[in-house]
Amino acid sequence: MSDCQSCGGCSVAIPPSPVALADTHVIAIIGPPNSGKSTLFNRLTGLRQKVGNFPGVTVEQRVGRTRLSNNREITLVDLPGVYSLDARSEDERVTRDVLNGQMPGVPKPDAVLLILDCTNLGRHLLLAAPILSLQLPTLVILNMADDLQSRGGSVDTAALSCELGAPVALISAAKGDGVEKVIQFVEGTSEGSAKVAKPRIELPILQDIPKCRKWAQQVGQNGGYHAPAPPLWTRRLDSIFLHPVLGPLIFLAVVVGVFQTIFSGAKPIMDSLTMGIQSSGAWLGAMLPDSIFKSLLIEGVWSGVGSVIVFLPQILLLFLFIGILEDSGYLARAALIADRTMAKFGLQGKAFIPLLSAYACAVPAIMATRTIENKRDRMATIMIAPLMTCSARLPVYTLLIAAFIHERPLIGHFLGTQAAVLLGLYVLGFVAAIVTAWMLKSSVLKSGRTSFMLEMPPYRWPTVRSLGLRLFDRSKIFLRRAGTVILTVSVVLWILAHLPLHDGKPPQIADSFAGMIGHAVEPAIKPLGFNWKIGIGLLSSLAAREVIVGTLGTIYGMEGTAQSEGLQKALQSDLTPGGAVALLIFFAFAMQCMSTIAVVRRESGGWKWPAIQFAYMTLLAYLAAFVTNHLLQASTILATLTK
C-alpha cells in the first residue's frame, strides 16, 4: 500500500494511500516553496523514503526514515511548501492539521524543522510566526548559506536564535554544509532535551500580513541580518532566457533538443538491452526441457515483460530532462513565457507546469493542478492533462516509429525524420489539449480571467543527488509495474492464448480464446487499419498504454516470428503503413490508463468528469485514426515516408 507512489504512472494500483507511520519519533519538515526543503529531506533520508498521500486528501505525503548515532530510528515527514498556515488552500490546511496533530493517521510531530531561504530571510521569516506559535520544539534552518555568503550577505545566528527563542542552524542543504547541526538537534529532541520556542518579541496577529512582515523585519534586524546583493547570474541569465526574441527561440531549441536526445541518445543502450533480453531468452530456451512451463516462461514472461523493460533508458532520460529543467529554475521562466499563449485558450501560465509534467505522467500532473486556485481553471487543466504525451506512450511510439518510419536527416544531425515524427506526435497531443481547453473554457467551464502569480526562483545547478533520487524512484516504479501489471497481463494473455486445448495440445493463436476475443473486436477496428492482434493489444492496454507492447510481444512471440526477427520486423510484415500511423494517432488521443481515471474521479469528486473524459478521448482517437488510415491509404506520402 505505502509502496504505491503518487507518481505511479499508469499503474493499475489505486492512487496513493497514506504512508503508515510506525510508532516512532516523528519530525516534520516545513518551509516555503523554493526554500530547499526537499533537498534537505533527501539529504537526511537518502533512499529510505516513501511517497504516498495524506489520508482523504490529494496532498502528497513524503515520509523518510533516518537512523541516529544513538541507534534510534526517527521518522521525517516532508510537508507541502506553503507561505502561511492560513488554510486557504488544501496544502495549507493539511500542513496546519498535521502540525496540530489533527490529521488522522499521522501522529502529532515531536519537533519541527523550519527551513527558510536565508538569501530572502525577511519574507521567509513570515512563516516563522505561525510555526513558533505552535509551541513545538523547533529548529530554524537557514538554507542557502553558500549563496548568502557569495552574494555578500550575513546573519548572526546566535542573535537570531536569541530573538526567535529557538535554535538556528545556518546550512547549505545542496552542499551538505552544516547538516550535522540539524542531526544534532534531531538527536536532542529524540532524547527529550529540546525546548519549546519562545520568541523575544511577542508574535503578531497571524492574519495581519503587514504586521507579521514588520515583526519579521524587526526579528531580522535584531538578528544581524544583512540581505545579500541581488543574484547577478540569475539576472544575466534572465536577460537571455526572457529576451523577447532569444527567449522563445531557446525555449523551442530546448524542447527539440530534448526529443532528439531521447530518441537517438537512448538508442545504443536500448539496442544492447534488446540483444541481452533476446539472447538470454534464447539461452534459457536452450537450457530448459520442452514443457508448458518453458513455453510460459519464454513466450509469456520473457517476450511480454522483456519488450517493455527495453524502454527504461528512454523514460529515465525524459525524467532526467524534466528534473534538470525544474531544479534549475528554468521551468518557472517557461511558464512565464507560456502564460500569454495559455491565456488565449482560457488557461493560465501556471497550468503549464502540470501540463509539462503530464509529459512524464498524467497522475502527478493532475495532482499538481492543486496550485491553480480557480476551480474551473483547474478542472479544465485536469481534463486536458491526459492528452499530453505521457511516458507510457513512448514505448508504443518508439516501437512503431522505428518499424515504419524510414530514418533520414532533416536538419543535419540535429533532427531526423524519426525524431520529427515523435516530436509531431507530442505536438499533436498538445494541440488537442489546448483546443479541448478552449472548447471547455468557452462553454461548460467558463469563468472570468483569473490571476496569475508566480515566483521566479534564482537559477541553481541541479544536484546530482536529487536528480539521481528522481531517476532511482522512477526506475523502481517502472520495474515494479513491469513485475506486476505487465507480468500479470502477459501471463493471463498467454493462458488465454493457449486455451482451449485440442487433443491436449494448445491451439493456433487465431483459434484460442485470445484470438476469439481479438476476432470479435476486429470488425470495429478494421476501418482503422488494425487487425485482430492489435485488437487484443488495445483491450489489454486499457489497463495501461505500454501493456500493448508486452501483449504484442507475447502474441508474436508465440508465432515464433518475434524470436527470430524481433517485434519490429513482425509488425512490418503484419501491419499496413496506414494502419501503423493510425495506431500512433489512436494512442495519441485515447485514454488508456486506469490510474488516471481513478485520480480524476478522486480530484473531481465523482464519476461524471472521468466518464466524459473517457468517452471524449476514445471517440476522438477512433475518428482521428479512421481519418488517418483512409487518408494514408489514398495518398502517395507513404512512398516517401516509409520503407
Binding site: Y83, S84, D86, R88, T119, N120, G122, R123, L126, I209, P210, R213, A227, P230, D238, S239, L242, P244, V245, G247, P248, A332, L336, I337, D339, R340, A343, G349, E373, R449, S451, F452, M453, L454, E455, M456
Partner: protein, 116 residues
C-alpha cells in the same frame, strides 16, 4: 482604543490621498505612475494598497507585495506580459490586469504638502 482610532485615521487619510492622486492623473495625464502597471523600466514605486479581493491580496502579500514595500519592474515575457517585479528580495511575475490594481504611493517628497 487609541490604536483603533489611529488605525481608522490612517485608513481615512489613505482614502483621501488616493482620491487626490487619482484626480491628478485624470486631470493632466501625470507622468507619475499611480499603479504598478504604469511603472517604467528603471523606475521604482512604493506600494500603497492592493485594490483586489482579499483572497488574491493576501496571496500577493505573502509573495512580498506588502504596502510600504518598494517595487521595481524587471523583465517580462515576450509581448510585455506578464511582467516580473522585484519586491522584498524576490522576483514575482503577475499579469498587467493584476498590476493595475496595485496602487502606488505618491512618493515625490516635494508634493507631500499637497496631501494635507
Amino acid at each position: 482604543m487609541m490604536e483603533v482610532l489611529t488605525c481608522l485615521k490612517t485608513a481615512f487619510h489613505t482614502e483621501v490621498r488616493m482620491q487626490l492622486s487619482f484626480n491628478k492623473v485624470v486631470g493632466k495625464r501625470s507622468r507619475i505612475a499611480s499603479n504598478l502597471s504604469e511603472l517604467k523600466a528603471g523606475e521604482q514605486g512604493i506600494l500603497d494598497r492592493l485594490d483586489l479581493p482579499e483572497e488574491v491580496a493576501k496571496r500577493l502579500m505573502e509573495l512580498g507585495f506588502v504596502p510600504g514595500h518598494v517595487i521595481e519592474p524587471a523583465l517580462s515575457a515576450p509581448g510585455g506580459e506578464p511582467r516580473v517585479y522585484r519586491v522584498d528580495g524576490s522576483e514575482i511575475a503577475i499579469r498587467r490586469e493584476t498590476a493595475r490594481h496595485l496602487i502606488l504611493r505618491k512618493r515625490v517628497p516635494s508634493q507631500a504638502s499637497d496631501r494635507s
